[in-house]
């Protein structure tokens, strides 16, 4: 492989010996052998298989459903219709409500009107999946197609079909944030650039779709649910609410999850349906989403239309920023719904004091949107960072220099953004300079001049970002109506061998939590990480938590591990002091041995201490048996990762084809628990960033309302052959907010890619004033943008880079 720059020397508190090391992952032991336990890897005795019939129209009334033929098929064991489902369940609770909004109920099945292509309208269970699918095929549905709207701005026009008549409108929320006086600031600015930019609808496309097994035990009343989810505890709570049964009766297990990226955040209709079928039949029921269903049911993301204005002074200071954007929410408010981070983070790492941002959430006849890695931040990054380049160029200032003048300096932090975020700490300029050094900006400029003389066009693009990671405390979320907290929790239980079991409800879906948690626990307990066995994703054993999303697992989770392990360690030392007749304050645990720091000959194995505590045989007078602890950590504030990306791109102006020759990302996530894992997270995020920037778009036909790119053949996620080499480097400014100085990292890579590549293309073509108003950046769109720039603005003809995705 070509060279990449090694991570900077990691910072770690001196005692935490396993923190900062690139240990191989504990998860790999099973996964690399193909021995993971994904939901579909379980076949339970007597299990039935569910198939779901879905609405083929974007909007249609169900006049009638005839299930007679299906029920007669051998092997069919049950059918559910919308009316049954509505009468037996409550709507799926929203986890992160829209402020000041009345949201339409999201039911597990449509009973009367279906509002997007893919919405469940009937389900069948049968002896095997093929029979269940055959039965769905034999169900006759009498449809009355209704007018549909699949464009968010059109959905807000007065004559648009209203999806939920009880709301009277498709606008479910309009939430604004402001600081200073943006009107005055923009009027006083010497240059204002405004534009109308559409962000593409994409999806996270985990390689494992969703899947569920529900097993209701009649008489006992227990409901065991294996779900491919990021939120076992919250799904359990949602299921209890939807089904009206006690949470105590429900156990949700997410053992191995084959990718999630925000799409598996909370309860989906099919999980409810599988539970109902299991309650009806008394048998386990499995449903495994197929890929066509995935594209038509699992949450989509990102789609928005931004009207953004940025003003600057002649010497290149940002005067003000205004962004009014419409988010296309799809037909219902999914548990997480549309992103707010495009508002909180829209001013990025810059010193902007006069600003206004408004999110308008529009319902359309499309798949509901939800969270997807980045969750609003890649969108606002693209509109802001591309406009900043255009501002700088118009002012004849180097875009890099323009950024230097406006980046917040370390001493200006903490900084409250106009959107309401409070940046904790960081050196944004240092990340920019490091990225420039790594890409060799001066040499690129020289090469650019040489190649231009020979008729070739290369360009250098840069984009800066701040990534919100975690949440500012549980009480904050409570005030804003969230159904969850900001905390994480773990239980650590020592065994008689001096090892321990660590229980976390964070499910495994690639974040490597088992390894990073073990590194922190092992460091605190003075044992080898191999002695820490992590059990994840089971509500039957793990304490209440929040779940893995928002780049918060390591931020909140390692705090909980540190606290729980610290309490276990403290008790172990107390018991050891009793056994040894020494003062606990002089004892330490190293490599599984408790020893006296003042007398190296005095010590005993941690296993003996644990045995004394677990059996209760030899305890200090006032201590109780056991050697375990459950601890919670609630981060007091957000942490913010940040960084700069730089790209070198060659463009062929005749065809619009372009090649990303270099892509550099310098990122800061504070203390790195495991640098190998951090780098992997960055690389993975970048690949998804490239997908959304260059290849992927969920296209709905404006006339028929049909999803046109709803298979893996049509929706082009990047393959190994489609991506450049990622050159990743880090700066390391520990966060003051978390005990270990950790900032989150999971989403960073997705944020700056589209802007960086677009800026590089524009740089290659300058002085032609090319502007991108659509994503992804396909060669055709680049070609159209070049033609538009060559022709100049035409009155009454908005420039839009229209063009197909493929």
């Amino acid at each position: 492989m070509a060279e990449t720059v090694a991570p900077a020397k990691p910072h770690s508190p001196p005692d935490l010996v396993w923190v900062g090391l690139s240990l191989a992952r504990k998860e790999d032991e099973r996964l690399v052998r193909g021995l993971g336990k994904f939901v579909d890897d379980r076949d339970l005795p007597g299990m039935l298989h569910m198939a779901v019939g879905r609405c083929p129209f974007p909007h249609a009334r169900i006049r009638g459903i005839n299930v007679t033929a299906a029920l007669r098929m051998p092997g069919v064991e049950g059918v559910l219709l919308g009316a049954d489902v509505v009468s037996r369940t409550s709507p799926i609770p929203v986890l992160r409500p829209l402020p000041d909004a009345r949201v339409p109920p999201y039911r597990a099945m449509a009973s009367d009107v279906a509002r997007f292509e893919g919405e469940p309208v009937v389900s069948v269970v049968a002896s095997d999946r093929a029979v269940a699918e055959d039965a769905i095929g034999d169900i006759e549905i009498d449809w009355d197609p209704l007018p549909a709207v699949v464009d968010a701005e059109q959905a807000l026009e007065p004559d648009a079909p209203v999806l939920h008549p009880e709301l009277g409108t498709n606008l479910v929320a309009a939430n604004s944030r402001a600081a200073g006086d943006v009107e005055a600031a923009l009027s006083a600015a010497e240059l204002v650039i405004s534009d109308h930019i559409r962000i593409n609808r994409v999806t996270g496309l985990p390689m494992e779709g969703r899947a569920v097994i529900a097993r209701y035990t009649r008489g006992v009343g227990t409901l065991d649910v294996w779900s491919s989810t990021q939120l076992p505890h919250l799904v359990r709570w949602q299921l209890a609410r939807v089904l009206g049964i006690s949470e105590s009766k429900i156990r949700v297990v997410a053992s191995d999850v084959g990718g999630a990226f925000g799409l598996k955040l909370g309860l989906y209709p099919e999980e409810v349906l599988a539970c109902l079928h299991s309650m009806d039949s008394g048998r386990p029921v499995k449903w495994v989403e197929d890929r066509l269903e995935h594209f038509r049911m699992t949450t989509h993301a990102r789609e928005a239309v931004h009207r953004i204005e940025i003003g600057a002074t002649r010497d290149g200071s940002i005067s003000g920023m205004r962004d009014v954007y419409v988010v296309d929410a799809g037909a219902y408010n999914s548990p997480f719904g549309s992103p707010m981070l495009s508002s909180l983070m829209f001013t990025g790492p810059y010193r902007v004091e006069d600003a206004f941002v408004e999110r308008r959430v529009a319902l359309t006849n499309k798949v509901p949107v939800g969270a997807y890695r980045g969750y609003g931040q890649p969108e606002s990054n693209f509109v802001r960072e591309t406009l900043i380049d255009r501002l700088a160029r118009t002012l004849a200032i180097d875009p890099v220099e323009f950024r230097r003048r406006n980046l917040l300096r370390p001493e200006e932090l903490p900084w409250k953004t106009p959107g309401g975020a409070v940046y904790d700490s960081g050196d944004y300029g240092a990340a920019l300079e490091r990225a420039l050094a790594l890409v060799g900006a001066d040499a690129v400029r020289e090469r650019q001049r040489d190649l231009r003389e020979r008729g070739r066009r290369i360009g250098l693009g840069v984009a800066c970002f701040v990534e919100m990671t975690g949440y500012p405390g549980s009480a904050f979320l409570g005030k804003h109506g969230a159904a969850f907290g900001a905390h994480e929790s773990v239980t650590i239980r020592m065994n008689r061998e001096g090892g321990c079991d660590l229980y976390t409800a964070v499910s495994h879906f690639g974040q490597s939590t088992e390894t990073s948690f073990a590194q922190v626990a092992a460091s605190t307990l003075g044992v080898h990480p191999d002695r820490v066995v992590v059990h994840s994703g089971d509500t039957g054993s793990a304490p209440h938590n929040t779940g893995s999303f928002a780049s918060r697992t390591t931020v909140a989770g390692t705090g909980a591990v540190l606290a729980a392990a610290g309490q276990v360690r403290e008790k172990a030392l107390r018991v050891a002091a009793h056994l040894l007749g020494r003062d606990a304050a002089t004892l330490e645990i190293v490599d599984g041995i408790v020893r006296d720091t003042e007398d190296p000959d005095v010590g005993l194995p941690l296993a003996d201490v644990a045995t004394a505590a677990i059996t209760g045989h030899r305890l200090p007078p006032d201590d109780s048996p056991g050697l375990e602890s459950t601890a919670y950590f609630d981060p007091p504030a957000n942490t913010f990762g940040y960084g700069t990306a730089a790209a070198v791109v060659e463009v062929d102006p005749r065809s619009g084809e372009f090649t990303v020759e270099r892509f550099v990302l310098v990122h800061d996530c504070g203390t790195e628990i495991n640098p190998m894992i951090v780098k992997g997270q960055i690389q993975g995020g970048l690949a998804q960033g490239f997908g959304a920037a260059m290849f992927e778009e969920l296209v709905y036909d404006p006339d028929s309302g049909q999803l046109m790119t709803g298979t893996m053949v049509d929706y082009l996620m990047p393959t190994a052959a489609d991506l450049p080499l990622f050159e990743v480097d880090h700066t390391e400014v520990p966060s003051p907010v978390t005990p270990l100085g950790v900032r989150g990292v999971g989403e960073a890579g997705t944020i700056p890619v589209a802007a960086t590549v677009a800026n590089a293309i524009c740089d290659a073509l300058w002085p032609l004033p090319v502007a991108f108003r659509r994503l992804p950046l396909t060669p055709e769109r680049v070609w159209r943008a070049i033609r538009e720039a060559e022709q100049g603005p035409r009155a009454g003809a908005p420039q839009s880079n229209e063009g197909a995705v493929t």
Binding site: D28, G34, G36, D40, G684, A687
Partner: protein, 168 residues
């Protein structure tokens, strides 16, 4: 109901004789009839490559084959690499390079890489990217997968399932 057919197939060196529905895919047969869950299913239309297995040594997508079609053939799945307590060197290369995150795609890459050692053991970087483009990964960005396969290919001659080492 679907018609059944008899199939005799050798999987990971062991012979199986089963009566299977004519429409049962090979992937579903391996997973739900033989309990070899390491072969994953991602799209059921031959695009994602999760279900890649070796059929007589060639990598194929087992969602596009019917179980009945492999009568008399030899199938190799990721479980064939699990011959001992120790990881196979190819598996070790993956864990050392951090070439997996969620791990769902990993068996498909392992099978593809294993076959690659036979027909193109010294690919250029561009060739390697093309060779591995038949399996998708949404977590890693591929870079570490390329590194793992590249490193392993350089370390082996002709691979064997038992140890993949230089003795084959």
């Amino acid at each position: 109901m679907a018609e059944h057919l008899n199939v005799l197939v050798r999987v990971n060196g062991r012979d199986y004789s089963r009566s299977v529905p004519a429409r049962l895919s090979l992937a579903d047969f391996l997973r739900h009839e033989l309990g070899l869950y390491g072969t994953h299913v991602g799209c059921e239309q031959g695009v994602c490559g999760m279900c890649t297995i070796l059929l007589d040594g060639q990598p194929v997508k087992s969602c596009l084959l019917l179980a009945a079609q492999v009568e008399g053939h030899e199938v190799t799945t990721v479980e064939a690499l699990n011959q001992s307590e120790e990881l196979h060197p190819l598996q070790r290369a993956f864990t050392e390079a951090h070439a997996l995150q969620c791990g769902f795609c990993t068996p498909g890459f392992l099978m593809t890489a294993f076959a690659l050692a036979d027909w193109n053991p010294a690919p250029s970087q561009a060739e390697l990217r093309e060779e591995l483009a038949g399996v998708l990964c949404r977590c890693t960005g591929y870079q570490n997968i390329l590194e793992a396969v590249d490193g392993w290919l350089r370390s082996v001659g002709r691979p064997t399932l038992r140890d993949g080492g230089g003795d084959g």
